[in-house]
Symmetry: C2
Subunit: 344 residues, 2 copies
């Protein structure tokens, strides 16, 4: 059997308290919990890459930008993403190293600053739509709008900033991920979807103000490093049809074609399960063996194809699932009723 | 000839405007300038590791912590360091890649989140002495003191926070640096001296509130990765005796013993040239071929032993300087009068 190469994308719940708080202590504790199932996967001998969300963390940094603006020049949005790669990367290094040591698994861990290239002509730049940061009263939002930001009336809660979330085109630092994997490292990379950059005509790479969907970047990175399996860890047991109704049903093994059809029928929320389903489908369509969407606690079982929603090219056939044992032939997992779906 | 392995430690002037400003634009422009001589060194075929200071950047983050504290929980000092590894790392990736492309040098660049282990019983924890961040009036400083921070009266400018600056003991992520170097990468690592961590008795690694001298960490990392040459880039042409007097004389080739003697005589300021001299001496004493202290513009010449203050085990002998051609036998460089020495 070839060594499995697995990319695990950690959602916001791997980095915040169960109530969604993101103090430093909350983050450290949450990441310590997340490191346990990650270490279980590494302990199987798999080559593992970790990527992670950063929504609450970037939200905090934007508030700091705003409240300190009269004293310290605010930093652009891509810098906020870079900052979270540093802090979350360091926490993951500490936590995963500890969980590996507890299992007597001698594998080094490294965290890379990672840039993701986007297209400067991406239509999302003209239509910012990704809400980030805190809600403000209209009057305060209007001040930010005067400063060039885009804010939207989100109803009762107030106004919220929306930013461009362009398509990830290329993970610029994927070669470094491959080099470290090849040297035996567990690698943390493309945190927050990667630091968004564009490449100018003269070849210059520079940061741009945007956020990138971390699951779409994860799918792209997983293919770039030739991972067989993409695991998207979230706070529900799997992908549910008719979510939130009494006819809710969590999918087990599913073909990419079938899952795309469910998506087209509007089963998945655009700000939540939608991008995860899209990322899983893209990964398999691009040649990945299997993409699994499941809860953080179940990722070790899921990486072996025994939990969560397992997306393959043809779920019915006894396909060669490549690196992932039995992924293509896993029976629908007993995932029970869908848990409450939270915003990422 | 074996391939030279060089570690270049960039000072604050590589990341701020000539006037010391640190807006995002200032930082990007300064790093673009610094990337030029760095690319010249890479173009010689040398294996290059870059490390960098982060004083002004951490200062800005502390102000944000303070001014947003009522809304967003402040993050500890080690997180501020981690944040700057993300932002400065990304800027260096972009800038060095561009300068290499302009020279048609096909070498990839990677930036690592890097932790530096310190001793929890380091006496510096009981005697915080490193000033960081902005000056405040006494009344405001007293509020911070009530919150557990240490602030000192610095005279006319006001009060300033002082923090522990413990000795770096081990660069925990040095193996990742070696792996990437071995794969042909130019590597950015140990920014700001590394994220300070301690290892508890049970093996757990966790962050601690401190700052680490980036030149001392650079010397440690340089030995850990078996670099032959350590280049400390600053804003003066070299190490000067009788600095600031009309008898000022910049040293060229100097033995580590001689330089230690000058240091013992009090020639070098403790917050400024002192730690650089100490780092250079430690590197050579630990087996490094040559340590060079020089201005950022001169680092390419300095890496070849033709500029700056070149410290070797025995400056007078025609020693085998290992990777660095002629380093051990360089004639004293014509560095002219010492420039004004600024705070790092």
């Amino acid at each position: 059997m070839t060594t499995a190469r697995v990319l695990i994308a950690l959602g916001g719940n791997a980095m915040t308290s169960p109530e969604g708080r993101a103090t430093p202590e909350d983050q450290i504790a949450a990441i310590a919990r997340a490191a346990e199932p990650i270490a279980d996967i590494v302990a199987t001998g798999a080559e593992v890459v970790l990527t992670h969300g950063n929504g609450p963390q970037v939200g905090n940094l934007l508030v700091k930008n705003e409240l300190a603006a009269s004293v310290v020049p605010p930093v652009p949005l891509d810098w906020c993403g870079a900052q979270t790669q540093g802090t979350i990367g360091a926490m993951l290094l500490n936590a995963v190293q500890r969980s590996l040591a507890a299992r007597a698994v001698a594998r080094p861990v490294a965290a890379l600053v990672t840039r993701t290239r986007v297209d400067p002509t991406d239509p999302h730049f003209d239509k910012p739509s990704k809400p980030i940061g805190r809600y403000l009263p209209e009057a305060e939002a209007r001040v930010m709008i005067e400063h060039g930001q885009v804010w939207e009336d989100r109803g009762e809660k107030g106004w919220r900033r929306v930013v461009a979330s362009p398509e990830p085109v290329e993970i610029l630092d994927a070669p470094a991920v491959s080099a470290l994997l090849g040297a035996g490292f567990v690698v943390v990379a493309a945190g927050g979807g990667g630091i968004p950059v564009v490449r100018d005509e003269d070849g210059t790479v520079r940061g741009v103000e945007a956020v990138i969907d971390k699951d779409l970047s994860a799918a792209l990175l997983a293919r770039a490093i030739d991972a067989g399996v993409l695991v998207i860890a979230t706070d529900v047991a799997g992908v549910a049809l008719n979510f939130g109704t009494d006819r809710a049903r969590t999918l087990g093994a599913v073909s990419v074609a079938e899952l795309r059809e469910h998506a087209a029928q509007g089963h998945f929320a655009s700000g939540s399960m939608g991008p995860k389903v899209d990322a899983a489908c893209r990964f398999v369509e691009a040649g990945g063996s299997a993409a699994v969407i499941t809860s953080l606690d179940d990722i070790a079982e899921a990486a072996a194809g025994r939990a969560g929603t397992v997306v393959t090219a043809d779920a019915g056939a006894t396909a060669d699932a490549g690196a992932l044992a039995d992924a293509g032939t896993a029976a629908p997992a007993d995932t029970g009723a869908a848990d409450a779906e939270k915003e990422r």
